[in-house]
């Protein structure tokens, strides 16, 4: 049994509660830093993919998990980040400038788009944002001179402080670039969450009417949340483009939007951990499925039978199972397991029972 004895307000303000937790996170970081020397190039690529999805997931988590605004349009911002990054580099900007600018521009555009979207709630907002996701496909085709239209574009190698980084040529360096972005985004996210802005997001999510009464400008807070969310998603999109190597109007389809939303629900809405857990599920599910298909094939025969839509089917079933049994997602489950061990042997079966509730989406009055 472990008890954190608090003696200082800083213990609640710092991102870690005590030294034990800090050591754990540092250990995780060390593991991530050591990964390229331990695992082979294929799995390093997979891990890289998971990290990129985690960035995109954090982007959506700001908006949906913490501000309670459902969005089915985030693939549009992935695309915007991706194309902005590439187009800026083609204009001669170095990657180190084009990349953050891609995030900032996507964030600003997101904020502008948020202004009409602010009047919409719940499912209507989801539909409106989904329309955006579909629109962006056509916009990319229509603006062919810049975007390459249906023919698409190829991502060049990028130069970071004199080191050439390329998905295929130097996967190890690319991995470190992604890891660096993940660390920076996560730290920024943590900082915002423990400051008044992050708390105002949560306030808007849980009760708009009392947020207003406390002096929080609901519309402004939502717009800022949209901006931050789209900026992070844009960064994720830029990396996703570089990682994919080639992309066109169909790369960032509405399916990606839906996958992204499912991902953070499975991971656990309302926590940064959730974005990572969800990314692990979505990143490794295809590998897991092909491995288990091989296994089933070797036992029962017929391993080369292609099952269309298998991945989405399994993904959908996982989602349904989570909504039914664990609305707080993988992170919620993890909290229970952790509490079990921390309180051992005093954990009671129904300890979290009263807290089993869905995150409220927005409502007014």
């Amino acid at each position: 049994m472990r008890i954190v004895f608090k003696t200082d307000y800083m213990q609640d303000i710092r991102p870690w509660k005590d030294r034990y937790q800090l050591v754990l996170y540092l250990l995780l970081l060390t593991l991530m830093l050591a990964a390229p020397f331990v695992i082979d190039a294929f799995y390093l690529g997979e891990l890289n993919n998971v990290l990129i999805w985690a960035i995109a997931g954090m982007g959506l988590m700001v908006l949906t998990g913490h501000t309670g605004q459902a969005s089915l349009g985030h693939a549009a911002f992935l695309a915007m980040g991706c194309y902005t990054n590439i187009i800026l580099m083609e204009q001669g900007l170095p990657f180190m400038l084009a990349f953050p600018l891609a995030g900032i521009i996507t964030g600003l555009v997101g904020m502008v788009i948020a202004i009409p979207a602010l009047r919409l709630h719940g499912i209507y907002l989801a539909i409106a944002t989904m329309a955006m996701s579909i629109l962006v496909d056509d916009i990319i085709v229509l603006t062919e001179p810049w975007t390459g239209g249906v023919g698409g574009k190829y991502a060049p190698s990028v130069n970071v402080f004199g080191i050439m980084i390329d998905r295929w040529g130097t996967p190890r360096e690319f991995y470190y670039l992604t890891l660096g972005v993940v660390v920076v985004v996560t730290l920024g996210y943590i900082n915002i969450l423990r400051a008044p802005l992050g708390r105002s997001f949560i306030a808007v999510r849980d009760s708009e009417v009392s947020a207003q009464a406390i002096g929080i400008d609901v519309a402004r807070t939502k717009a800022i949340s949209f901006g931050i969310s789209c900026a992070i998603t844009g960064l994720g999109g830029a990396l996703m483009g570089l990682f994919a190597g080639a992309f066109n109007n169909e790369t960032f389809s509405v399916i990606i939007s839906i996958e992204l939303l499912m991902m953070i629900v499975i991971g656990g809405l309302g926590s940064i951990h959730g974005a990572f857990f969800g990314a692990i599920v979505i990143g490794f599910l295809p590998q897991f499925l092909s491995l288990s298909k091989e296994w089933v094939g070797s036992v029962f025969g017929g391993s080369n039978v292609a099952i269309p839509g298998l991945e989405f089917g399994v993904f959908g079933m996982i989602l349904i199972a989570f909504i039914l049994f664990e609305p707080m997602g993988l992170y919620g489950r993890w909290l229970k397991v952790r509490t079990f061990f921390e309180l051992f042997p005093f954990y009671r079966k129904d300890m979290f029972k009263r807290q089993k509730s869905y995150l409220k989406t927005e409502r007014l009055r």
């Binding site: 307000y9 800083m10 609640d12 303000i13 920024g188 900082n191 915002i192 423990r194 400051a195 008044p196 802005l197 992050g198 708390r199 105002s200 949560i202 306030a203 999510r205 849980d206 009760s207 009417v209 009392s210 947020a211 207003q212 009464a213 406390i214 002096g215 929080i216 400008d217 609901v218 800022i224 309302g270 009263r354 807290q355 509730s357 995150l359 409220k360 009055r365």
Partner: protein, 254 residues
């Protein structure tokens, strides 16, 4: 010049007149209660002061400011805090986080300083926590500090809502039925707390309440309303013996 002053305020929803030409004023440092049967327009008056509704005519002034010129989210900046009849807490957050949100109007930091969590933000956060802890002490919420609202009993939630309103460091506190749904003991606690809020913290209290024991126990003046209009205004004893009030509650004597 009164502290809070409503003058000729009228609000209509379609054909229904929710508040009908209502005028009253609250003086600094008093506890002012509004009573009346259900549907009398008591909560609507609160929502008008909070700027959730725009009155059709009339004026609402607080501490020299014209509230009607401010946005709903701007009212708190003048020092007006409120609770809700059906508790409106941030359910998925802890008690501590709820109270910290209450400090929002004292935010000095901006997006960039918060993104980097500069020393000034850190200092502000410690200061916020310090203020919140004083309120936790005041309302005996220590046991619930780290608990999520979603798992808390109703009586505690009622107190947390008062605590969150106090965390904004208000000059005027609007309590919408602070004792509804509370047990006899909890109501007694609430009574002493309201007394202390006025005496120790010097906060003016305007409340809507049905529990006449609580109303006559703490309030200096009472406004009785029916059908959106003023019935009687005076000390609790005066209002309770007013024939118009008795008629509104009990009906005509045939």
């Amino acid at each position: 010049m009164s502290f809070l002053e409503l003058k000729d305020v009228t609000l209509k929803f379609g054909g229904v007149t929710a508040v009908d030409n209502l005028s009253f004023s609250v003086e600094e440092g008093e506890v002012f209660a509004i009573v009346g049967p259900n549907g009398a327009g008591k909560s609507t008056v609160f929502n008008l002061i909070s700027r959730f509704y725009d009155p059709h005519n009339g004026s609402i002034k607080f501490d020299g400011h014209d509230l009607l010129k401010s946005k709903p989210s701007g009212v708190a900046a003048f020092g007006v805090a409120r609770t809700f009849q059906n508790i409106e807490l941030f359910d998925q957050a802890t008690v501590l986080e709820n109270l910290l949100v209450g400090r929002h109007r004292h935010r000095q930091s901006n997006f960039l300083t918060e993104l980097f969590f500069t020393p000034s933000v850190k200092k502000q956060e410690v200061q916020n926590r310090h203020m919140v802890e004083e309120i936790i002490d005041f309302l005996d919420l220590q046991a619930y500090r780290e608990k999520r609202i979603a798992g808390l009993p109703y009586g505690v939630r009622k107190v947390v809502e008062v605590a969150r309103a106090l965390a904004t460091d208000p000059k005027l506190l609007l309590l919408d039925e602070p004792a509804s749904g509370l047990s006899v003991e909890e109501t007694t606690d609430m009574r002493w707390w309201i007394d202390d809020i006025r005496r120790q913290m010097g906060i003016t209290v305007l409340m809507v309440e049905h529990d006449m024991g609580l109303v006559s126990g703490v309030s200096d003046r009472v406004l009785a309303m029916a059908d959106g209009a003023k019935l009687a205004l005076g000390t609790p004893v005066e209002v309770q013996s007013d024939p118009a009030v008795i008629e509104a509650y009990l009906g005509h004597v045939a």
